[in-house]
Symmetry: C2
Subunit: 138 residues, 2 copies
DNA sequence: ATCGTAATTGCAACCAGTTGCTATTATATA
DNA sequence: TATATAATAGCAACTGGTTGCAATTACGAT
């Protein structure tokens, strides 16, 4: 189901601003930042306000159309249909690789059993050292 | 070894501002936020600037005296000597509980073997639903 | 004890993101 | 098609955090 349909079903209105944002997210399979989106919108809808952008992104997240992750104090958004995967972010070169493994299922079980805590573990950002930077530092 | 000693050994100067910040961190075993620290400093050293506080915290992190974690777009600092543990943050009530388990060792192994990625996994913030909020929502 | 200098501070401006408010607008209904 | 109204957009002010710069200061060498 498309993002627009979901928003309408939830009783939200489809404004030109929202249409553009949703369009950009659909055309853009990979991760996007609010900044990226804002500079795209400046070419298509000059005058659009950043608070509109952030509020729309929050709305889309709340509606499950988009997943919001954080890394190093700022936010990244993914189209939810991409499927759940995690991101390995190198703390030296900054490069990111995806990993689609179901890595955290055992951790989830431990937390549920011992702490009664139901962990989210969606689109985790894992910082560390990538193989290239590891070799360089040796 | 004390934080001041470490800073001196690294060739950094001990200023009154830094002395106060280090003192607060030593007296305060649990997590602290920059805001907390800033409002403490306002009583002891009026006029101290927030950029000094943030720069000192970054310095202490770089020197390994303090660990910086992020949650929901803002930062939390821990005295490094507390030992490594993780935090379970409830996305509903916001409460945090510590968990000292060596939860991620198996995940670390998988990432190292399959991706050549050396994950950090120190002071992870795990968001989810705590047992109390889980019961309420049922 | 004084001096030279590199490190550090405070400042002001900035960045990403948030919020309360008022004016505008999408949409359901008649 | 016109209208009522709740949702929304834009605005301006704000928050937490960062940065470049000029003035100050800690501290090693003399």
């Amino acid at each position: 189901m498309s993002c627009s349909t979901i928003l309408k079903q939830k009783g939200y209105k489809m404004t030109p601003q929202r249409r553009l944002i949703v369009e950009y997210i659909h055309d853009n399979q990979s991760h996007l930042t609010a900044d990226e989106l804002i500079s795209f919108l400046e070419t298509r809808a000059p005058g659009i306000n950043k608070s509109t952008v952030y509020r729309t992104l929050d709305l889309l997240e709340e509606s499950g159309c988009v997943v919001k992750s954080e890394i190093d104090g700022h936010f990244i958004y993914h189209h939810a249909e991409e499927g759940h995967h995690h991101h390995l972010v190198c703390r030296v070169c900054g490069k990111t690789q995806d990993c689609n493994e179901n890595l955290f299922s055992s951790v989830k079980d431990v937390l549920a059993n011992r702490y009664g805590f139901q962990a989210d573990f969606k689109h985790i950002m894992i910082t560390g050292l990538c193989s290239a930077c590891r070799k360089k530092s040796r």
